[in-house]
């Protein structure tokens, strides 16, 4: 028996080693390929790795605040680099919102609206994709594949397509992020629905409730906390996604950041990065706190 165990162990070890060798080979090949097709070679560019730090050091520490709040700079020489007040967004009289805060708000609104749209449609679709609620196999199959396509379709293509129709602006970004959210949330939601307790549903069915009543009174109350928790998780992801989509033409802070980096405006870049960093931490913390309140610790367990 020990011999058999040893044999099994050896086979297992052999597979592990083979797997690791395969992985190492794939990694080496990938690295070589990446280096070969890159514009600059890794070794040549390594000394320049921290060049960007130089692009981010402002002329004095207060420049950061001036850039962030659009105050006048003592270094102002007529160039755009130090012209902070130019970006002010006047709301009413002399009262203004600093440019970057306004852009950040734009990005946040893109994310929130897109998540709401994703939530609404994901909510409507998920019950049709759940095995325990939809008897028709074809309907289930169709809805699931539809959501899969929405999820896998590259966001950048949706954004690019609507950019061609609407010209530059945040609406293509909203549509792109929303479409992806519908697919992603729909998938998570129908998995939650499939794990729901079917006893309330049975009770409603016995009392003669129709499909909508069964779903609305039997299933929705149980799954709502989880739905909201996933909604908040998606919101975190969407804030990041809308920043990236912004950088490729969707407006908001992403675009400002890309322009600022490419023009080498150090104080402005640093201000945007700081703002983005703080916002993302705030959104994450807020969502973590709310999720904890709604579903307890379960929200932090991993599970796609």
């Amino acid at each position: 028996m020990e011999r058999h165990w040893r044999q099994l162990n050896n086979t297992r070890r052999l597979y592990t080693i083979l797997g690791l060798i395969g992985l190492a080979f794939a990694l080496t090949a990938s690295l070589w390929f990446a280096n070969e097709t890159n514009a600059g070679k890794f070794i040549d560019r390594l000394p320049h790795l921290f060049d960007f730090v130089g692009d981010m050091i402002p002329r004095d520490a207060f420049e950061l605040w001036r850039a962030l709040f659009d105050l006048e700079s003592p270094y102002y020489d007529g160039s755009f680099q130090y012209d902070y007040p130019v970006g002010r967004v006047y709301i009413w009289g002399a009262f203004y919102v600093p440019e970057y805060l306004y852009k950040m708000m734009e990005t946040l609104n893109i994310a929130v609206l897109a998540t709401f749209v994703g939530f609404s449609f994901g909510f409507m679709l998920c019950f049709l994709a759940a095995k325990n609620l939809t008897r028709s196999r074809w309907l289930r199959f169709a809805v699931r594949r539809f959501m899969e396509v929405l999820r896998a379709f590259p966001e950048i293509v949706i954004a690019g397509f609507f950019l061609a129709i609407f010209s530059l602006g945040p609406i293509p970004a909203i549509i792109a992020v929303a479409i992806h959210s519908i697919g992603a949330l729909g998938k998570m939601y129908f998995e939650v629905v499939e794990n729901a307790d079917m006893k309330p549903d049975e009770g409603l069915r016995a009392a003669g409730g129709n499909w909508i009543e069964r779903v609305w009174f039997g299933i929705v109350p149980q799954v709502m906390p989880n739905f909201i928790s996933y909604f908040l998780l998606r919101l975190e992801i969407n804030v990041r996604a809308s920043t990236i989509i912004g950088a490729v033409g969707g407006g908001g802070i992403g675009e400002t950041l890309r322009l600022s980096i490419s023009r080498g405006h150090e104080a402005k870049t640093l201000a945007i990065i700081l703002l983005l960093f703080v916002t993302i931490i705030c959104v994450d913390q807020f969502s973590a706190w709310l999720r904890k309140r709604i579903v307890g610790n379960q929200a932090f367990e991993f599970g796609p």
Partner: protein, 517 residues
């Protein structure tokens, strides 16, 4: 059904006070939420002025762009400024050089044109389906035949007097053999008949006749314009739309024809390839046996080279860019796992009992995670130049933070009994981790890594567009020209295939690891 007596109702109410006496907030949570949502939607509607933007969108372009995904247009111009009809195809037309498509019919006859007007070679636009004179007679026969305008009694079907240039000595014209009319046939019975002074368009039983006045440079429709034709002002050019089949613009000097065909044109071979225009059995026959197209190489090698370097579809470049995207996601995720694995042991409270070290590492993870992938991508593009190295680094830095956080949280939630067991037999601290902790967490770690690998394949597409390598930039460039939507469709289908394949691989591996199903 039994009815409940009042006493019973009271009894139930007493037993479940939490159901019958909910706080106000809880009772009105749903309507309140809906009202908030509605208010927010109104605010955002105003903030982004969604209404105006949507109303100002180029919606008819949208239809064309969508149609471009699965079809292509051929755009010949039928020019008649001189009086002689000439059919011109743009350079790089999908039909190749000097095409004679069978959906354009021409009729030849003698035409009268201004003497100094450019002489057109009618064979250029002749089509095989037409009843034109043989190719040998296609050369000009009316050479040097001058006729007076007033005494023009020759059998021309179209009488043309070109008076575009007023300084030109009047009525010096020339009659020669040329195209007298051209008929463009669209799908679904739509026809466009072009003669130098009259263009008639037939769609669905309706016929629109447009008189062309080249002297005053205007176009006049005869009778009412049908639903599918638009003229912006009197005498200006007329747009006619035939749905998916295409459209046409009738101007005083030319008709711009847009005829749409379903499919991806020249997908395998571009028009410069010797294999272009051959049917698939012919191509197969050439590949296997048959005369060498290029004496130095086998046909199949030439074929492969032609496909990879197809100028229109750029297969080779697209494949390399797609591979870059895959590599970016793979290497970035793998490195992030490799670095986060040991660090998470240090960051976990229960494994490393050093509060300071735990906190420092956890804050580092938070920092890496909270700096957006976009920022990392932009900076590494600056450091390494555009290409996959920047993408790898961006994914690596973001995911190292995410994995560090997830892994250390997993480690903090492990079952302590196994560790105690290993320790109680006197194992070294390293052996305790290896045999007491790793077997518990490894499946979870790997399944998380696989999940992120798959989702990174998607995000690698997007960060590519800011210069971090991969297919993103190529997609972006194809979309920016607004003319290459079929290439976009091609790349999107490749991406979808890759994502689905990876999705299934990672799902299969994960379900084997976690042991369910």
């Amino acid at each position: 059904m039994t009815t409940l007596a009042a006493a019973q109702i009271d009894d139930i109410e007493r037993r479940h006070p939490d159901v019958f006496h909910q706080p106000l907030v809880k009772r009105f949570a749903a309507p309140l939420g809906m009202i908030c949502l509605a208010l927010y939607t109104i605010y955002v509607w105003w903030f982004f002025s969604i209404g105006t933007v949507v109303a100002n969108g180029n919606w008819n372009l949208a239809g064309n762009y969508l149609a471009d995904w699965v079809s292509y247009e051929v755009r010949p111009d039928i020019e008649y400024e001189s009086g002689d009809i000439e059919i011109k195809f743009p350079r790089f037309s999908p039909l190749g050089d000097d095409p004679h498509p069978d959906w354009i019919e021409t009729r030849t006859g003698s035409v009268t044109v201004a003497a100094d007007a450019p002489r057109n070679d009618p064979s250029k636009a002749a089509s095989d389906g037409s009843f034109m004179s043989p190719a040998s007679s296609a050369t000009r026969t009316g050479d040097g035949e001058f006729s007076d305008m007033s005494s023009n009694s020759s059998a021309t079907s179209t009488e043309i007097a070109v008076k575009k240039n007023v300084f030109e000595p009047q009525s010096v014209t020339e009659t020669r053999n040329g195209i007298t009319s051209a008929i463009v046939m669209y799908r679904g019975g739509t026809r466009l008949e072009v003669a130098a002074d009259e263009v008639s368009v037939t769609r669905g039983g309706e016929t629109l006749v447009l008189r062309i006045d080249r002297t005053n440079e205007n176009v006049t429709p005869q009778g009412e314009l049908p639903r599918w034709a638009v003229q912006k002002g009197e005498g200006l050019k007329v747009f006619t739309y035939f749905g998916f089949a295409g459209r046409a613009e009738v101007k005083w000097n030319e008709v711009k024809v847009y005829r749409r065909f379903l499919g991806w044109e020249n997908f395998w071979f571009d028009t410069n390839s010797p294999f272009w225009g051959k049917s698939s059995p012919q191509v197969v026959a050439l590949a296997l046996s048959g005369e060498r197209v290029d004496l130095d190489r086998a046909n199949i090698a030439v074929m492969w080279d032609n496909i990879v370097n197809n100028a229109e579809w750029q297969h080779g470049d697209v494949w390399i860019k797609l591979l870059q995207t895959i590599v970016m996601a793979f290497v970035g995720t793998l490195f992030a796992v490799l670095i986060a694995f040991p660090l998470s042991f240090v960051a976990a409270r229960n494994v490393t009992p050093n509060r300071f070290l735990n906190q420092v590492l956890k804050r580092v993870f938070d920092f890496l995670r909270s700096v957006d992938m976009l920022i990392w991508a932009l900076f590494f593009t600056r450091a390494f130049g555009p290409g996959p190295l920047a993408g790898i680094s961006a994914i690596f830095f973001t995911d190292a933070g995410t994995f560090g956080k997830l892994y250390s949280e997993t480690l903090e939630n492990i079952d302590d009994k196994q560790r105690e067991g290993v320790r109680s037999v006197g194992a070294s601290p390293a052996a305790v981790q290896r045999f007491g902790v790793v077997p518990q967490v490894l499946p979870v770690f790997i399944s998380q890594a696989l999940y992120f690998w798959e989702s990174n394949t998607r995000s690698a597409t997007i960060i590519g567009a800011v210069g971090a390598g991969g297919i993103g930039l190529k997609l972006w460039e194809a979309m920016r020209t607004n003319a290459d939507w079929e290439n976009v469709a091609y790349m999107v289908s490749l991406i979808l295939v890759v994502v689905f394949v990876f999705d299934n691989i990672s799902n299969a591996l994960r379900s084997r690891l976690t042991g369910d199903t």
